[in-house]
Amino acid sequence: MISILSSLTMARRALQAQQAAIQTTGHNIANANTPGYTRQRVDFSPSFPFSLGSAGSLGTGVDVKVVTRLRDLMLDSQFRDAHQALGQQEVEEATLAQIQRLVNEPSANGLGSAMSALFASFQDLANSPTDLSVRTVVRAKAQALADQFHRLDDGFERLKVDLNNEILVDVKQVNGLAQQIAGLNRQIAMAEGGGGTANDLRDQRDQALDEISKLVGGSVIEETGGQVRVTVGGGLTLVDGQTSVPLVAELFNASDPTYPDSARLFLGGNLLMPGGGRMAGLLKSRNSASGFVKGFQSQLDVMAKNLVLDINRLHASGIGLQGLTTLASENAVTGPAVALNAAGLPFTPVDGSFKVFVYDPSGAVTASGTILVSAGTTTLTDLAAAIGGVGGGLTATVGADNKLTITAPAGGTFTLAADTSDTLVALGLHGFFGGSDARTIAVSNSVQADVRTIAAATPNSTGAFSPGDNSNALALAGLQNDSTAITLPSGGITTFGAYLSGLVSDLAEQEAGAKRSVSLHTTMADFLTTRRDQSSGVSLDEEMTDLIRFQKAYEAAAHFTNVVNDLLGTLMNKLGS
């Protein structure tokens, strides 16, 4: 039969079990607001019974079997998937929103209105070609347009730097988390080595895994011994057991042959392309050649380049209120003896010709010549010799800086006209703008120095010109409606205005799409957060009722102890006396 003392032991175990439950309930209440905390439950089981032979068995009370974490691992993986997608979308949306704020169209003071203002000033120039104040306004409007391009280009460059910095910060975070997970793997393996589960350590690790998946995505596999393996970017190991592989970010500049103008991640020497998370969004925002920073920046460059090309083509063959006294090319060739179409010029000359006229102080033509350009053979030295050969005292020299300088005879002037070879545009001779993209576009040196050189007029075939002639100013103004003004990289053609409005629409549509995507993923992530909160989170109402339940059980167990104590007393008193 069973000893009465074993009843006392049973009572003690019951008290201990209820107390463990009360302790766990208290632990749950204490951690009600702890992020990543999973509610715990004490699982009881009846202890091994005492066999009574044919009479069956006699219960021996309760055992604390295990303290379990009430966590749904399926929900965890769904939660991480949703959050890594959300992390990526959020970063992409934020980048696009920044680009949109930068472009700031439609507005009364953006690129579009600066461009309209320049073309309007060309019209004013056509109305009053001899008015110096109008010419000064034209120069100011050109400067304002160049400033808009610079503002945008600077903005894009700043965005790149910001994205680089964010990538570097996130890499540090990922490495910190990976080390933390490796460390927790070790602690958990040690704690669980003797059986049981290391609940609170696992909570910590789950939270680190949540964070790391928000940053770089990836997947988590639990291996034997309670350790997890984290792989990212389709199979590259970030954490394996107790070791973590450091993630490295490298920045490449525009001249890098493999990864031009980009930021890349490497893991264990392999290029890492994260499948999700903030990092995927940051890398896409930073590196993508279509859309995002580089895409829109290059679209802007295309616009600036075509603007310079179209305006300079007309301007270089026109003439201002008087001829030029001296003119230096703004774009240097790679060498004076290199053929012009291979000399690294921003625009490529083609076969053709241009004319040179030399004027005496009264404006009468004293010498003229047609310079033939064969783009594949003519060099800058050839060009200088040909221009010098026009006569009338005109000189042309190639400087040590590989630029061409043309100087009129003393007291006289000269002009260049009827260029069919794009040589003047390519070299930057008598252009309206200098530079060739959004960063370099600027009012040309000659216009900057003297607004009278703004070419509102066109010299006729013999070189004669008059100051009231506005034909070139009208042609310049007409570029605004020129449907072939921009040649797209795809080969299409369009006007400047349509190009800009297309860019704005495109950007806005991408941003709107990103916003929709963020809102969709937010709904999904919120739903899964709530689901996880519902299964793993602490409900204070529940814990309070549990507390009462365990309190009552504890009181009952204590009462039972009293009864056993009384029984023992009875035994001692009655038998002992």
Binding site: G112, S113, S116, A120, N127, T130, G468, Q534
Partner: protein, 308 residues
Amino acid sequence: MRITSNAIFHQLTADINRAANRVFERQRQVASSQRMATASDDPIGAGLAVSLRESLAQLLQAQRNGDQVEARLQASQGVLTDFLSVLGDVKDLASRGVGGDMSSSDRQDLATQVNQKLEQLLTDANARSIDGYLFGGTQTTVAPFTAVRGVNGEITAVTANPLGTGIAGQVNAELPGGLRVVANVPGSTVFTSTPPQTVDIFPLLITVRDQLRAGNVAGVELNLTNLDTAVDQVRVVMADVGSRIGRIRDIQQRSQSDLLTLKGRLSMIEDADIAEASIEFQQAQIVYQAALSAASKVMQINIVDFLR
């Protein structure tokens, strides 16, 4: 389903945020009276607005061009009117000079008067406005006609600037709708025999003056027809200028309705409907208040309040 404190808290926060966002968005629309905060609120509208703004700026500039051209042509027309009456006077003087009752000294007087008219015509031909010489063609900074004077200071000949890069040069201007008009009255069309014109006015007047002085009645009589042709020549130019002014006014008038249409379309895209936005603002406010008050009610309830 288990409802946990965190789940309630997350849900409430998300709901209140959404309601607050709606209030903020409507409030922004009402306060700024702008429909779009960013282009992404209406991508197609944003692209269209960029184009419309460009068209609007272009139209306003074209209207400015039209105003300037009209002013310039009006000024030319004014000078031409004066010119025509002077030419008429010369014709009268010449007609009187061929009368048989005229003495030689009378004809000398007439010649002197014709000379005065000639001086006046030269001044008119070199009339200036803010844009330079009105009849200078494209050479607007140098007087188009220069007098060659004899020993007594009288005009013996008038030289003109070259045709191509001077008095025959046309200056164009762009008007609304991309229409081009000739914005000046080239001096060659008024004063010289450049085709389709037939009379060189200054030499004609110089000849008439000299013929009167010399008593060459037959010569003067022959030149009366030429003077008639000269008057017609100027009249035709004036009619042309007048019709150009009329055309410009028509174009400007029509562009005014284009301007209103453009502004209307831009406003439809960019401006908020204040009445609608205000009502939506009120609604959003009510929803926000409801969300807040519901939240405060839910957060108050806890089992602890009901124990003991």
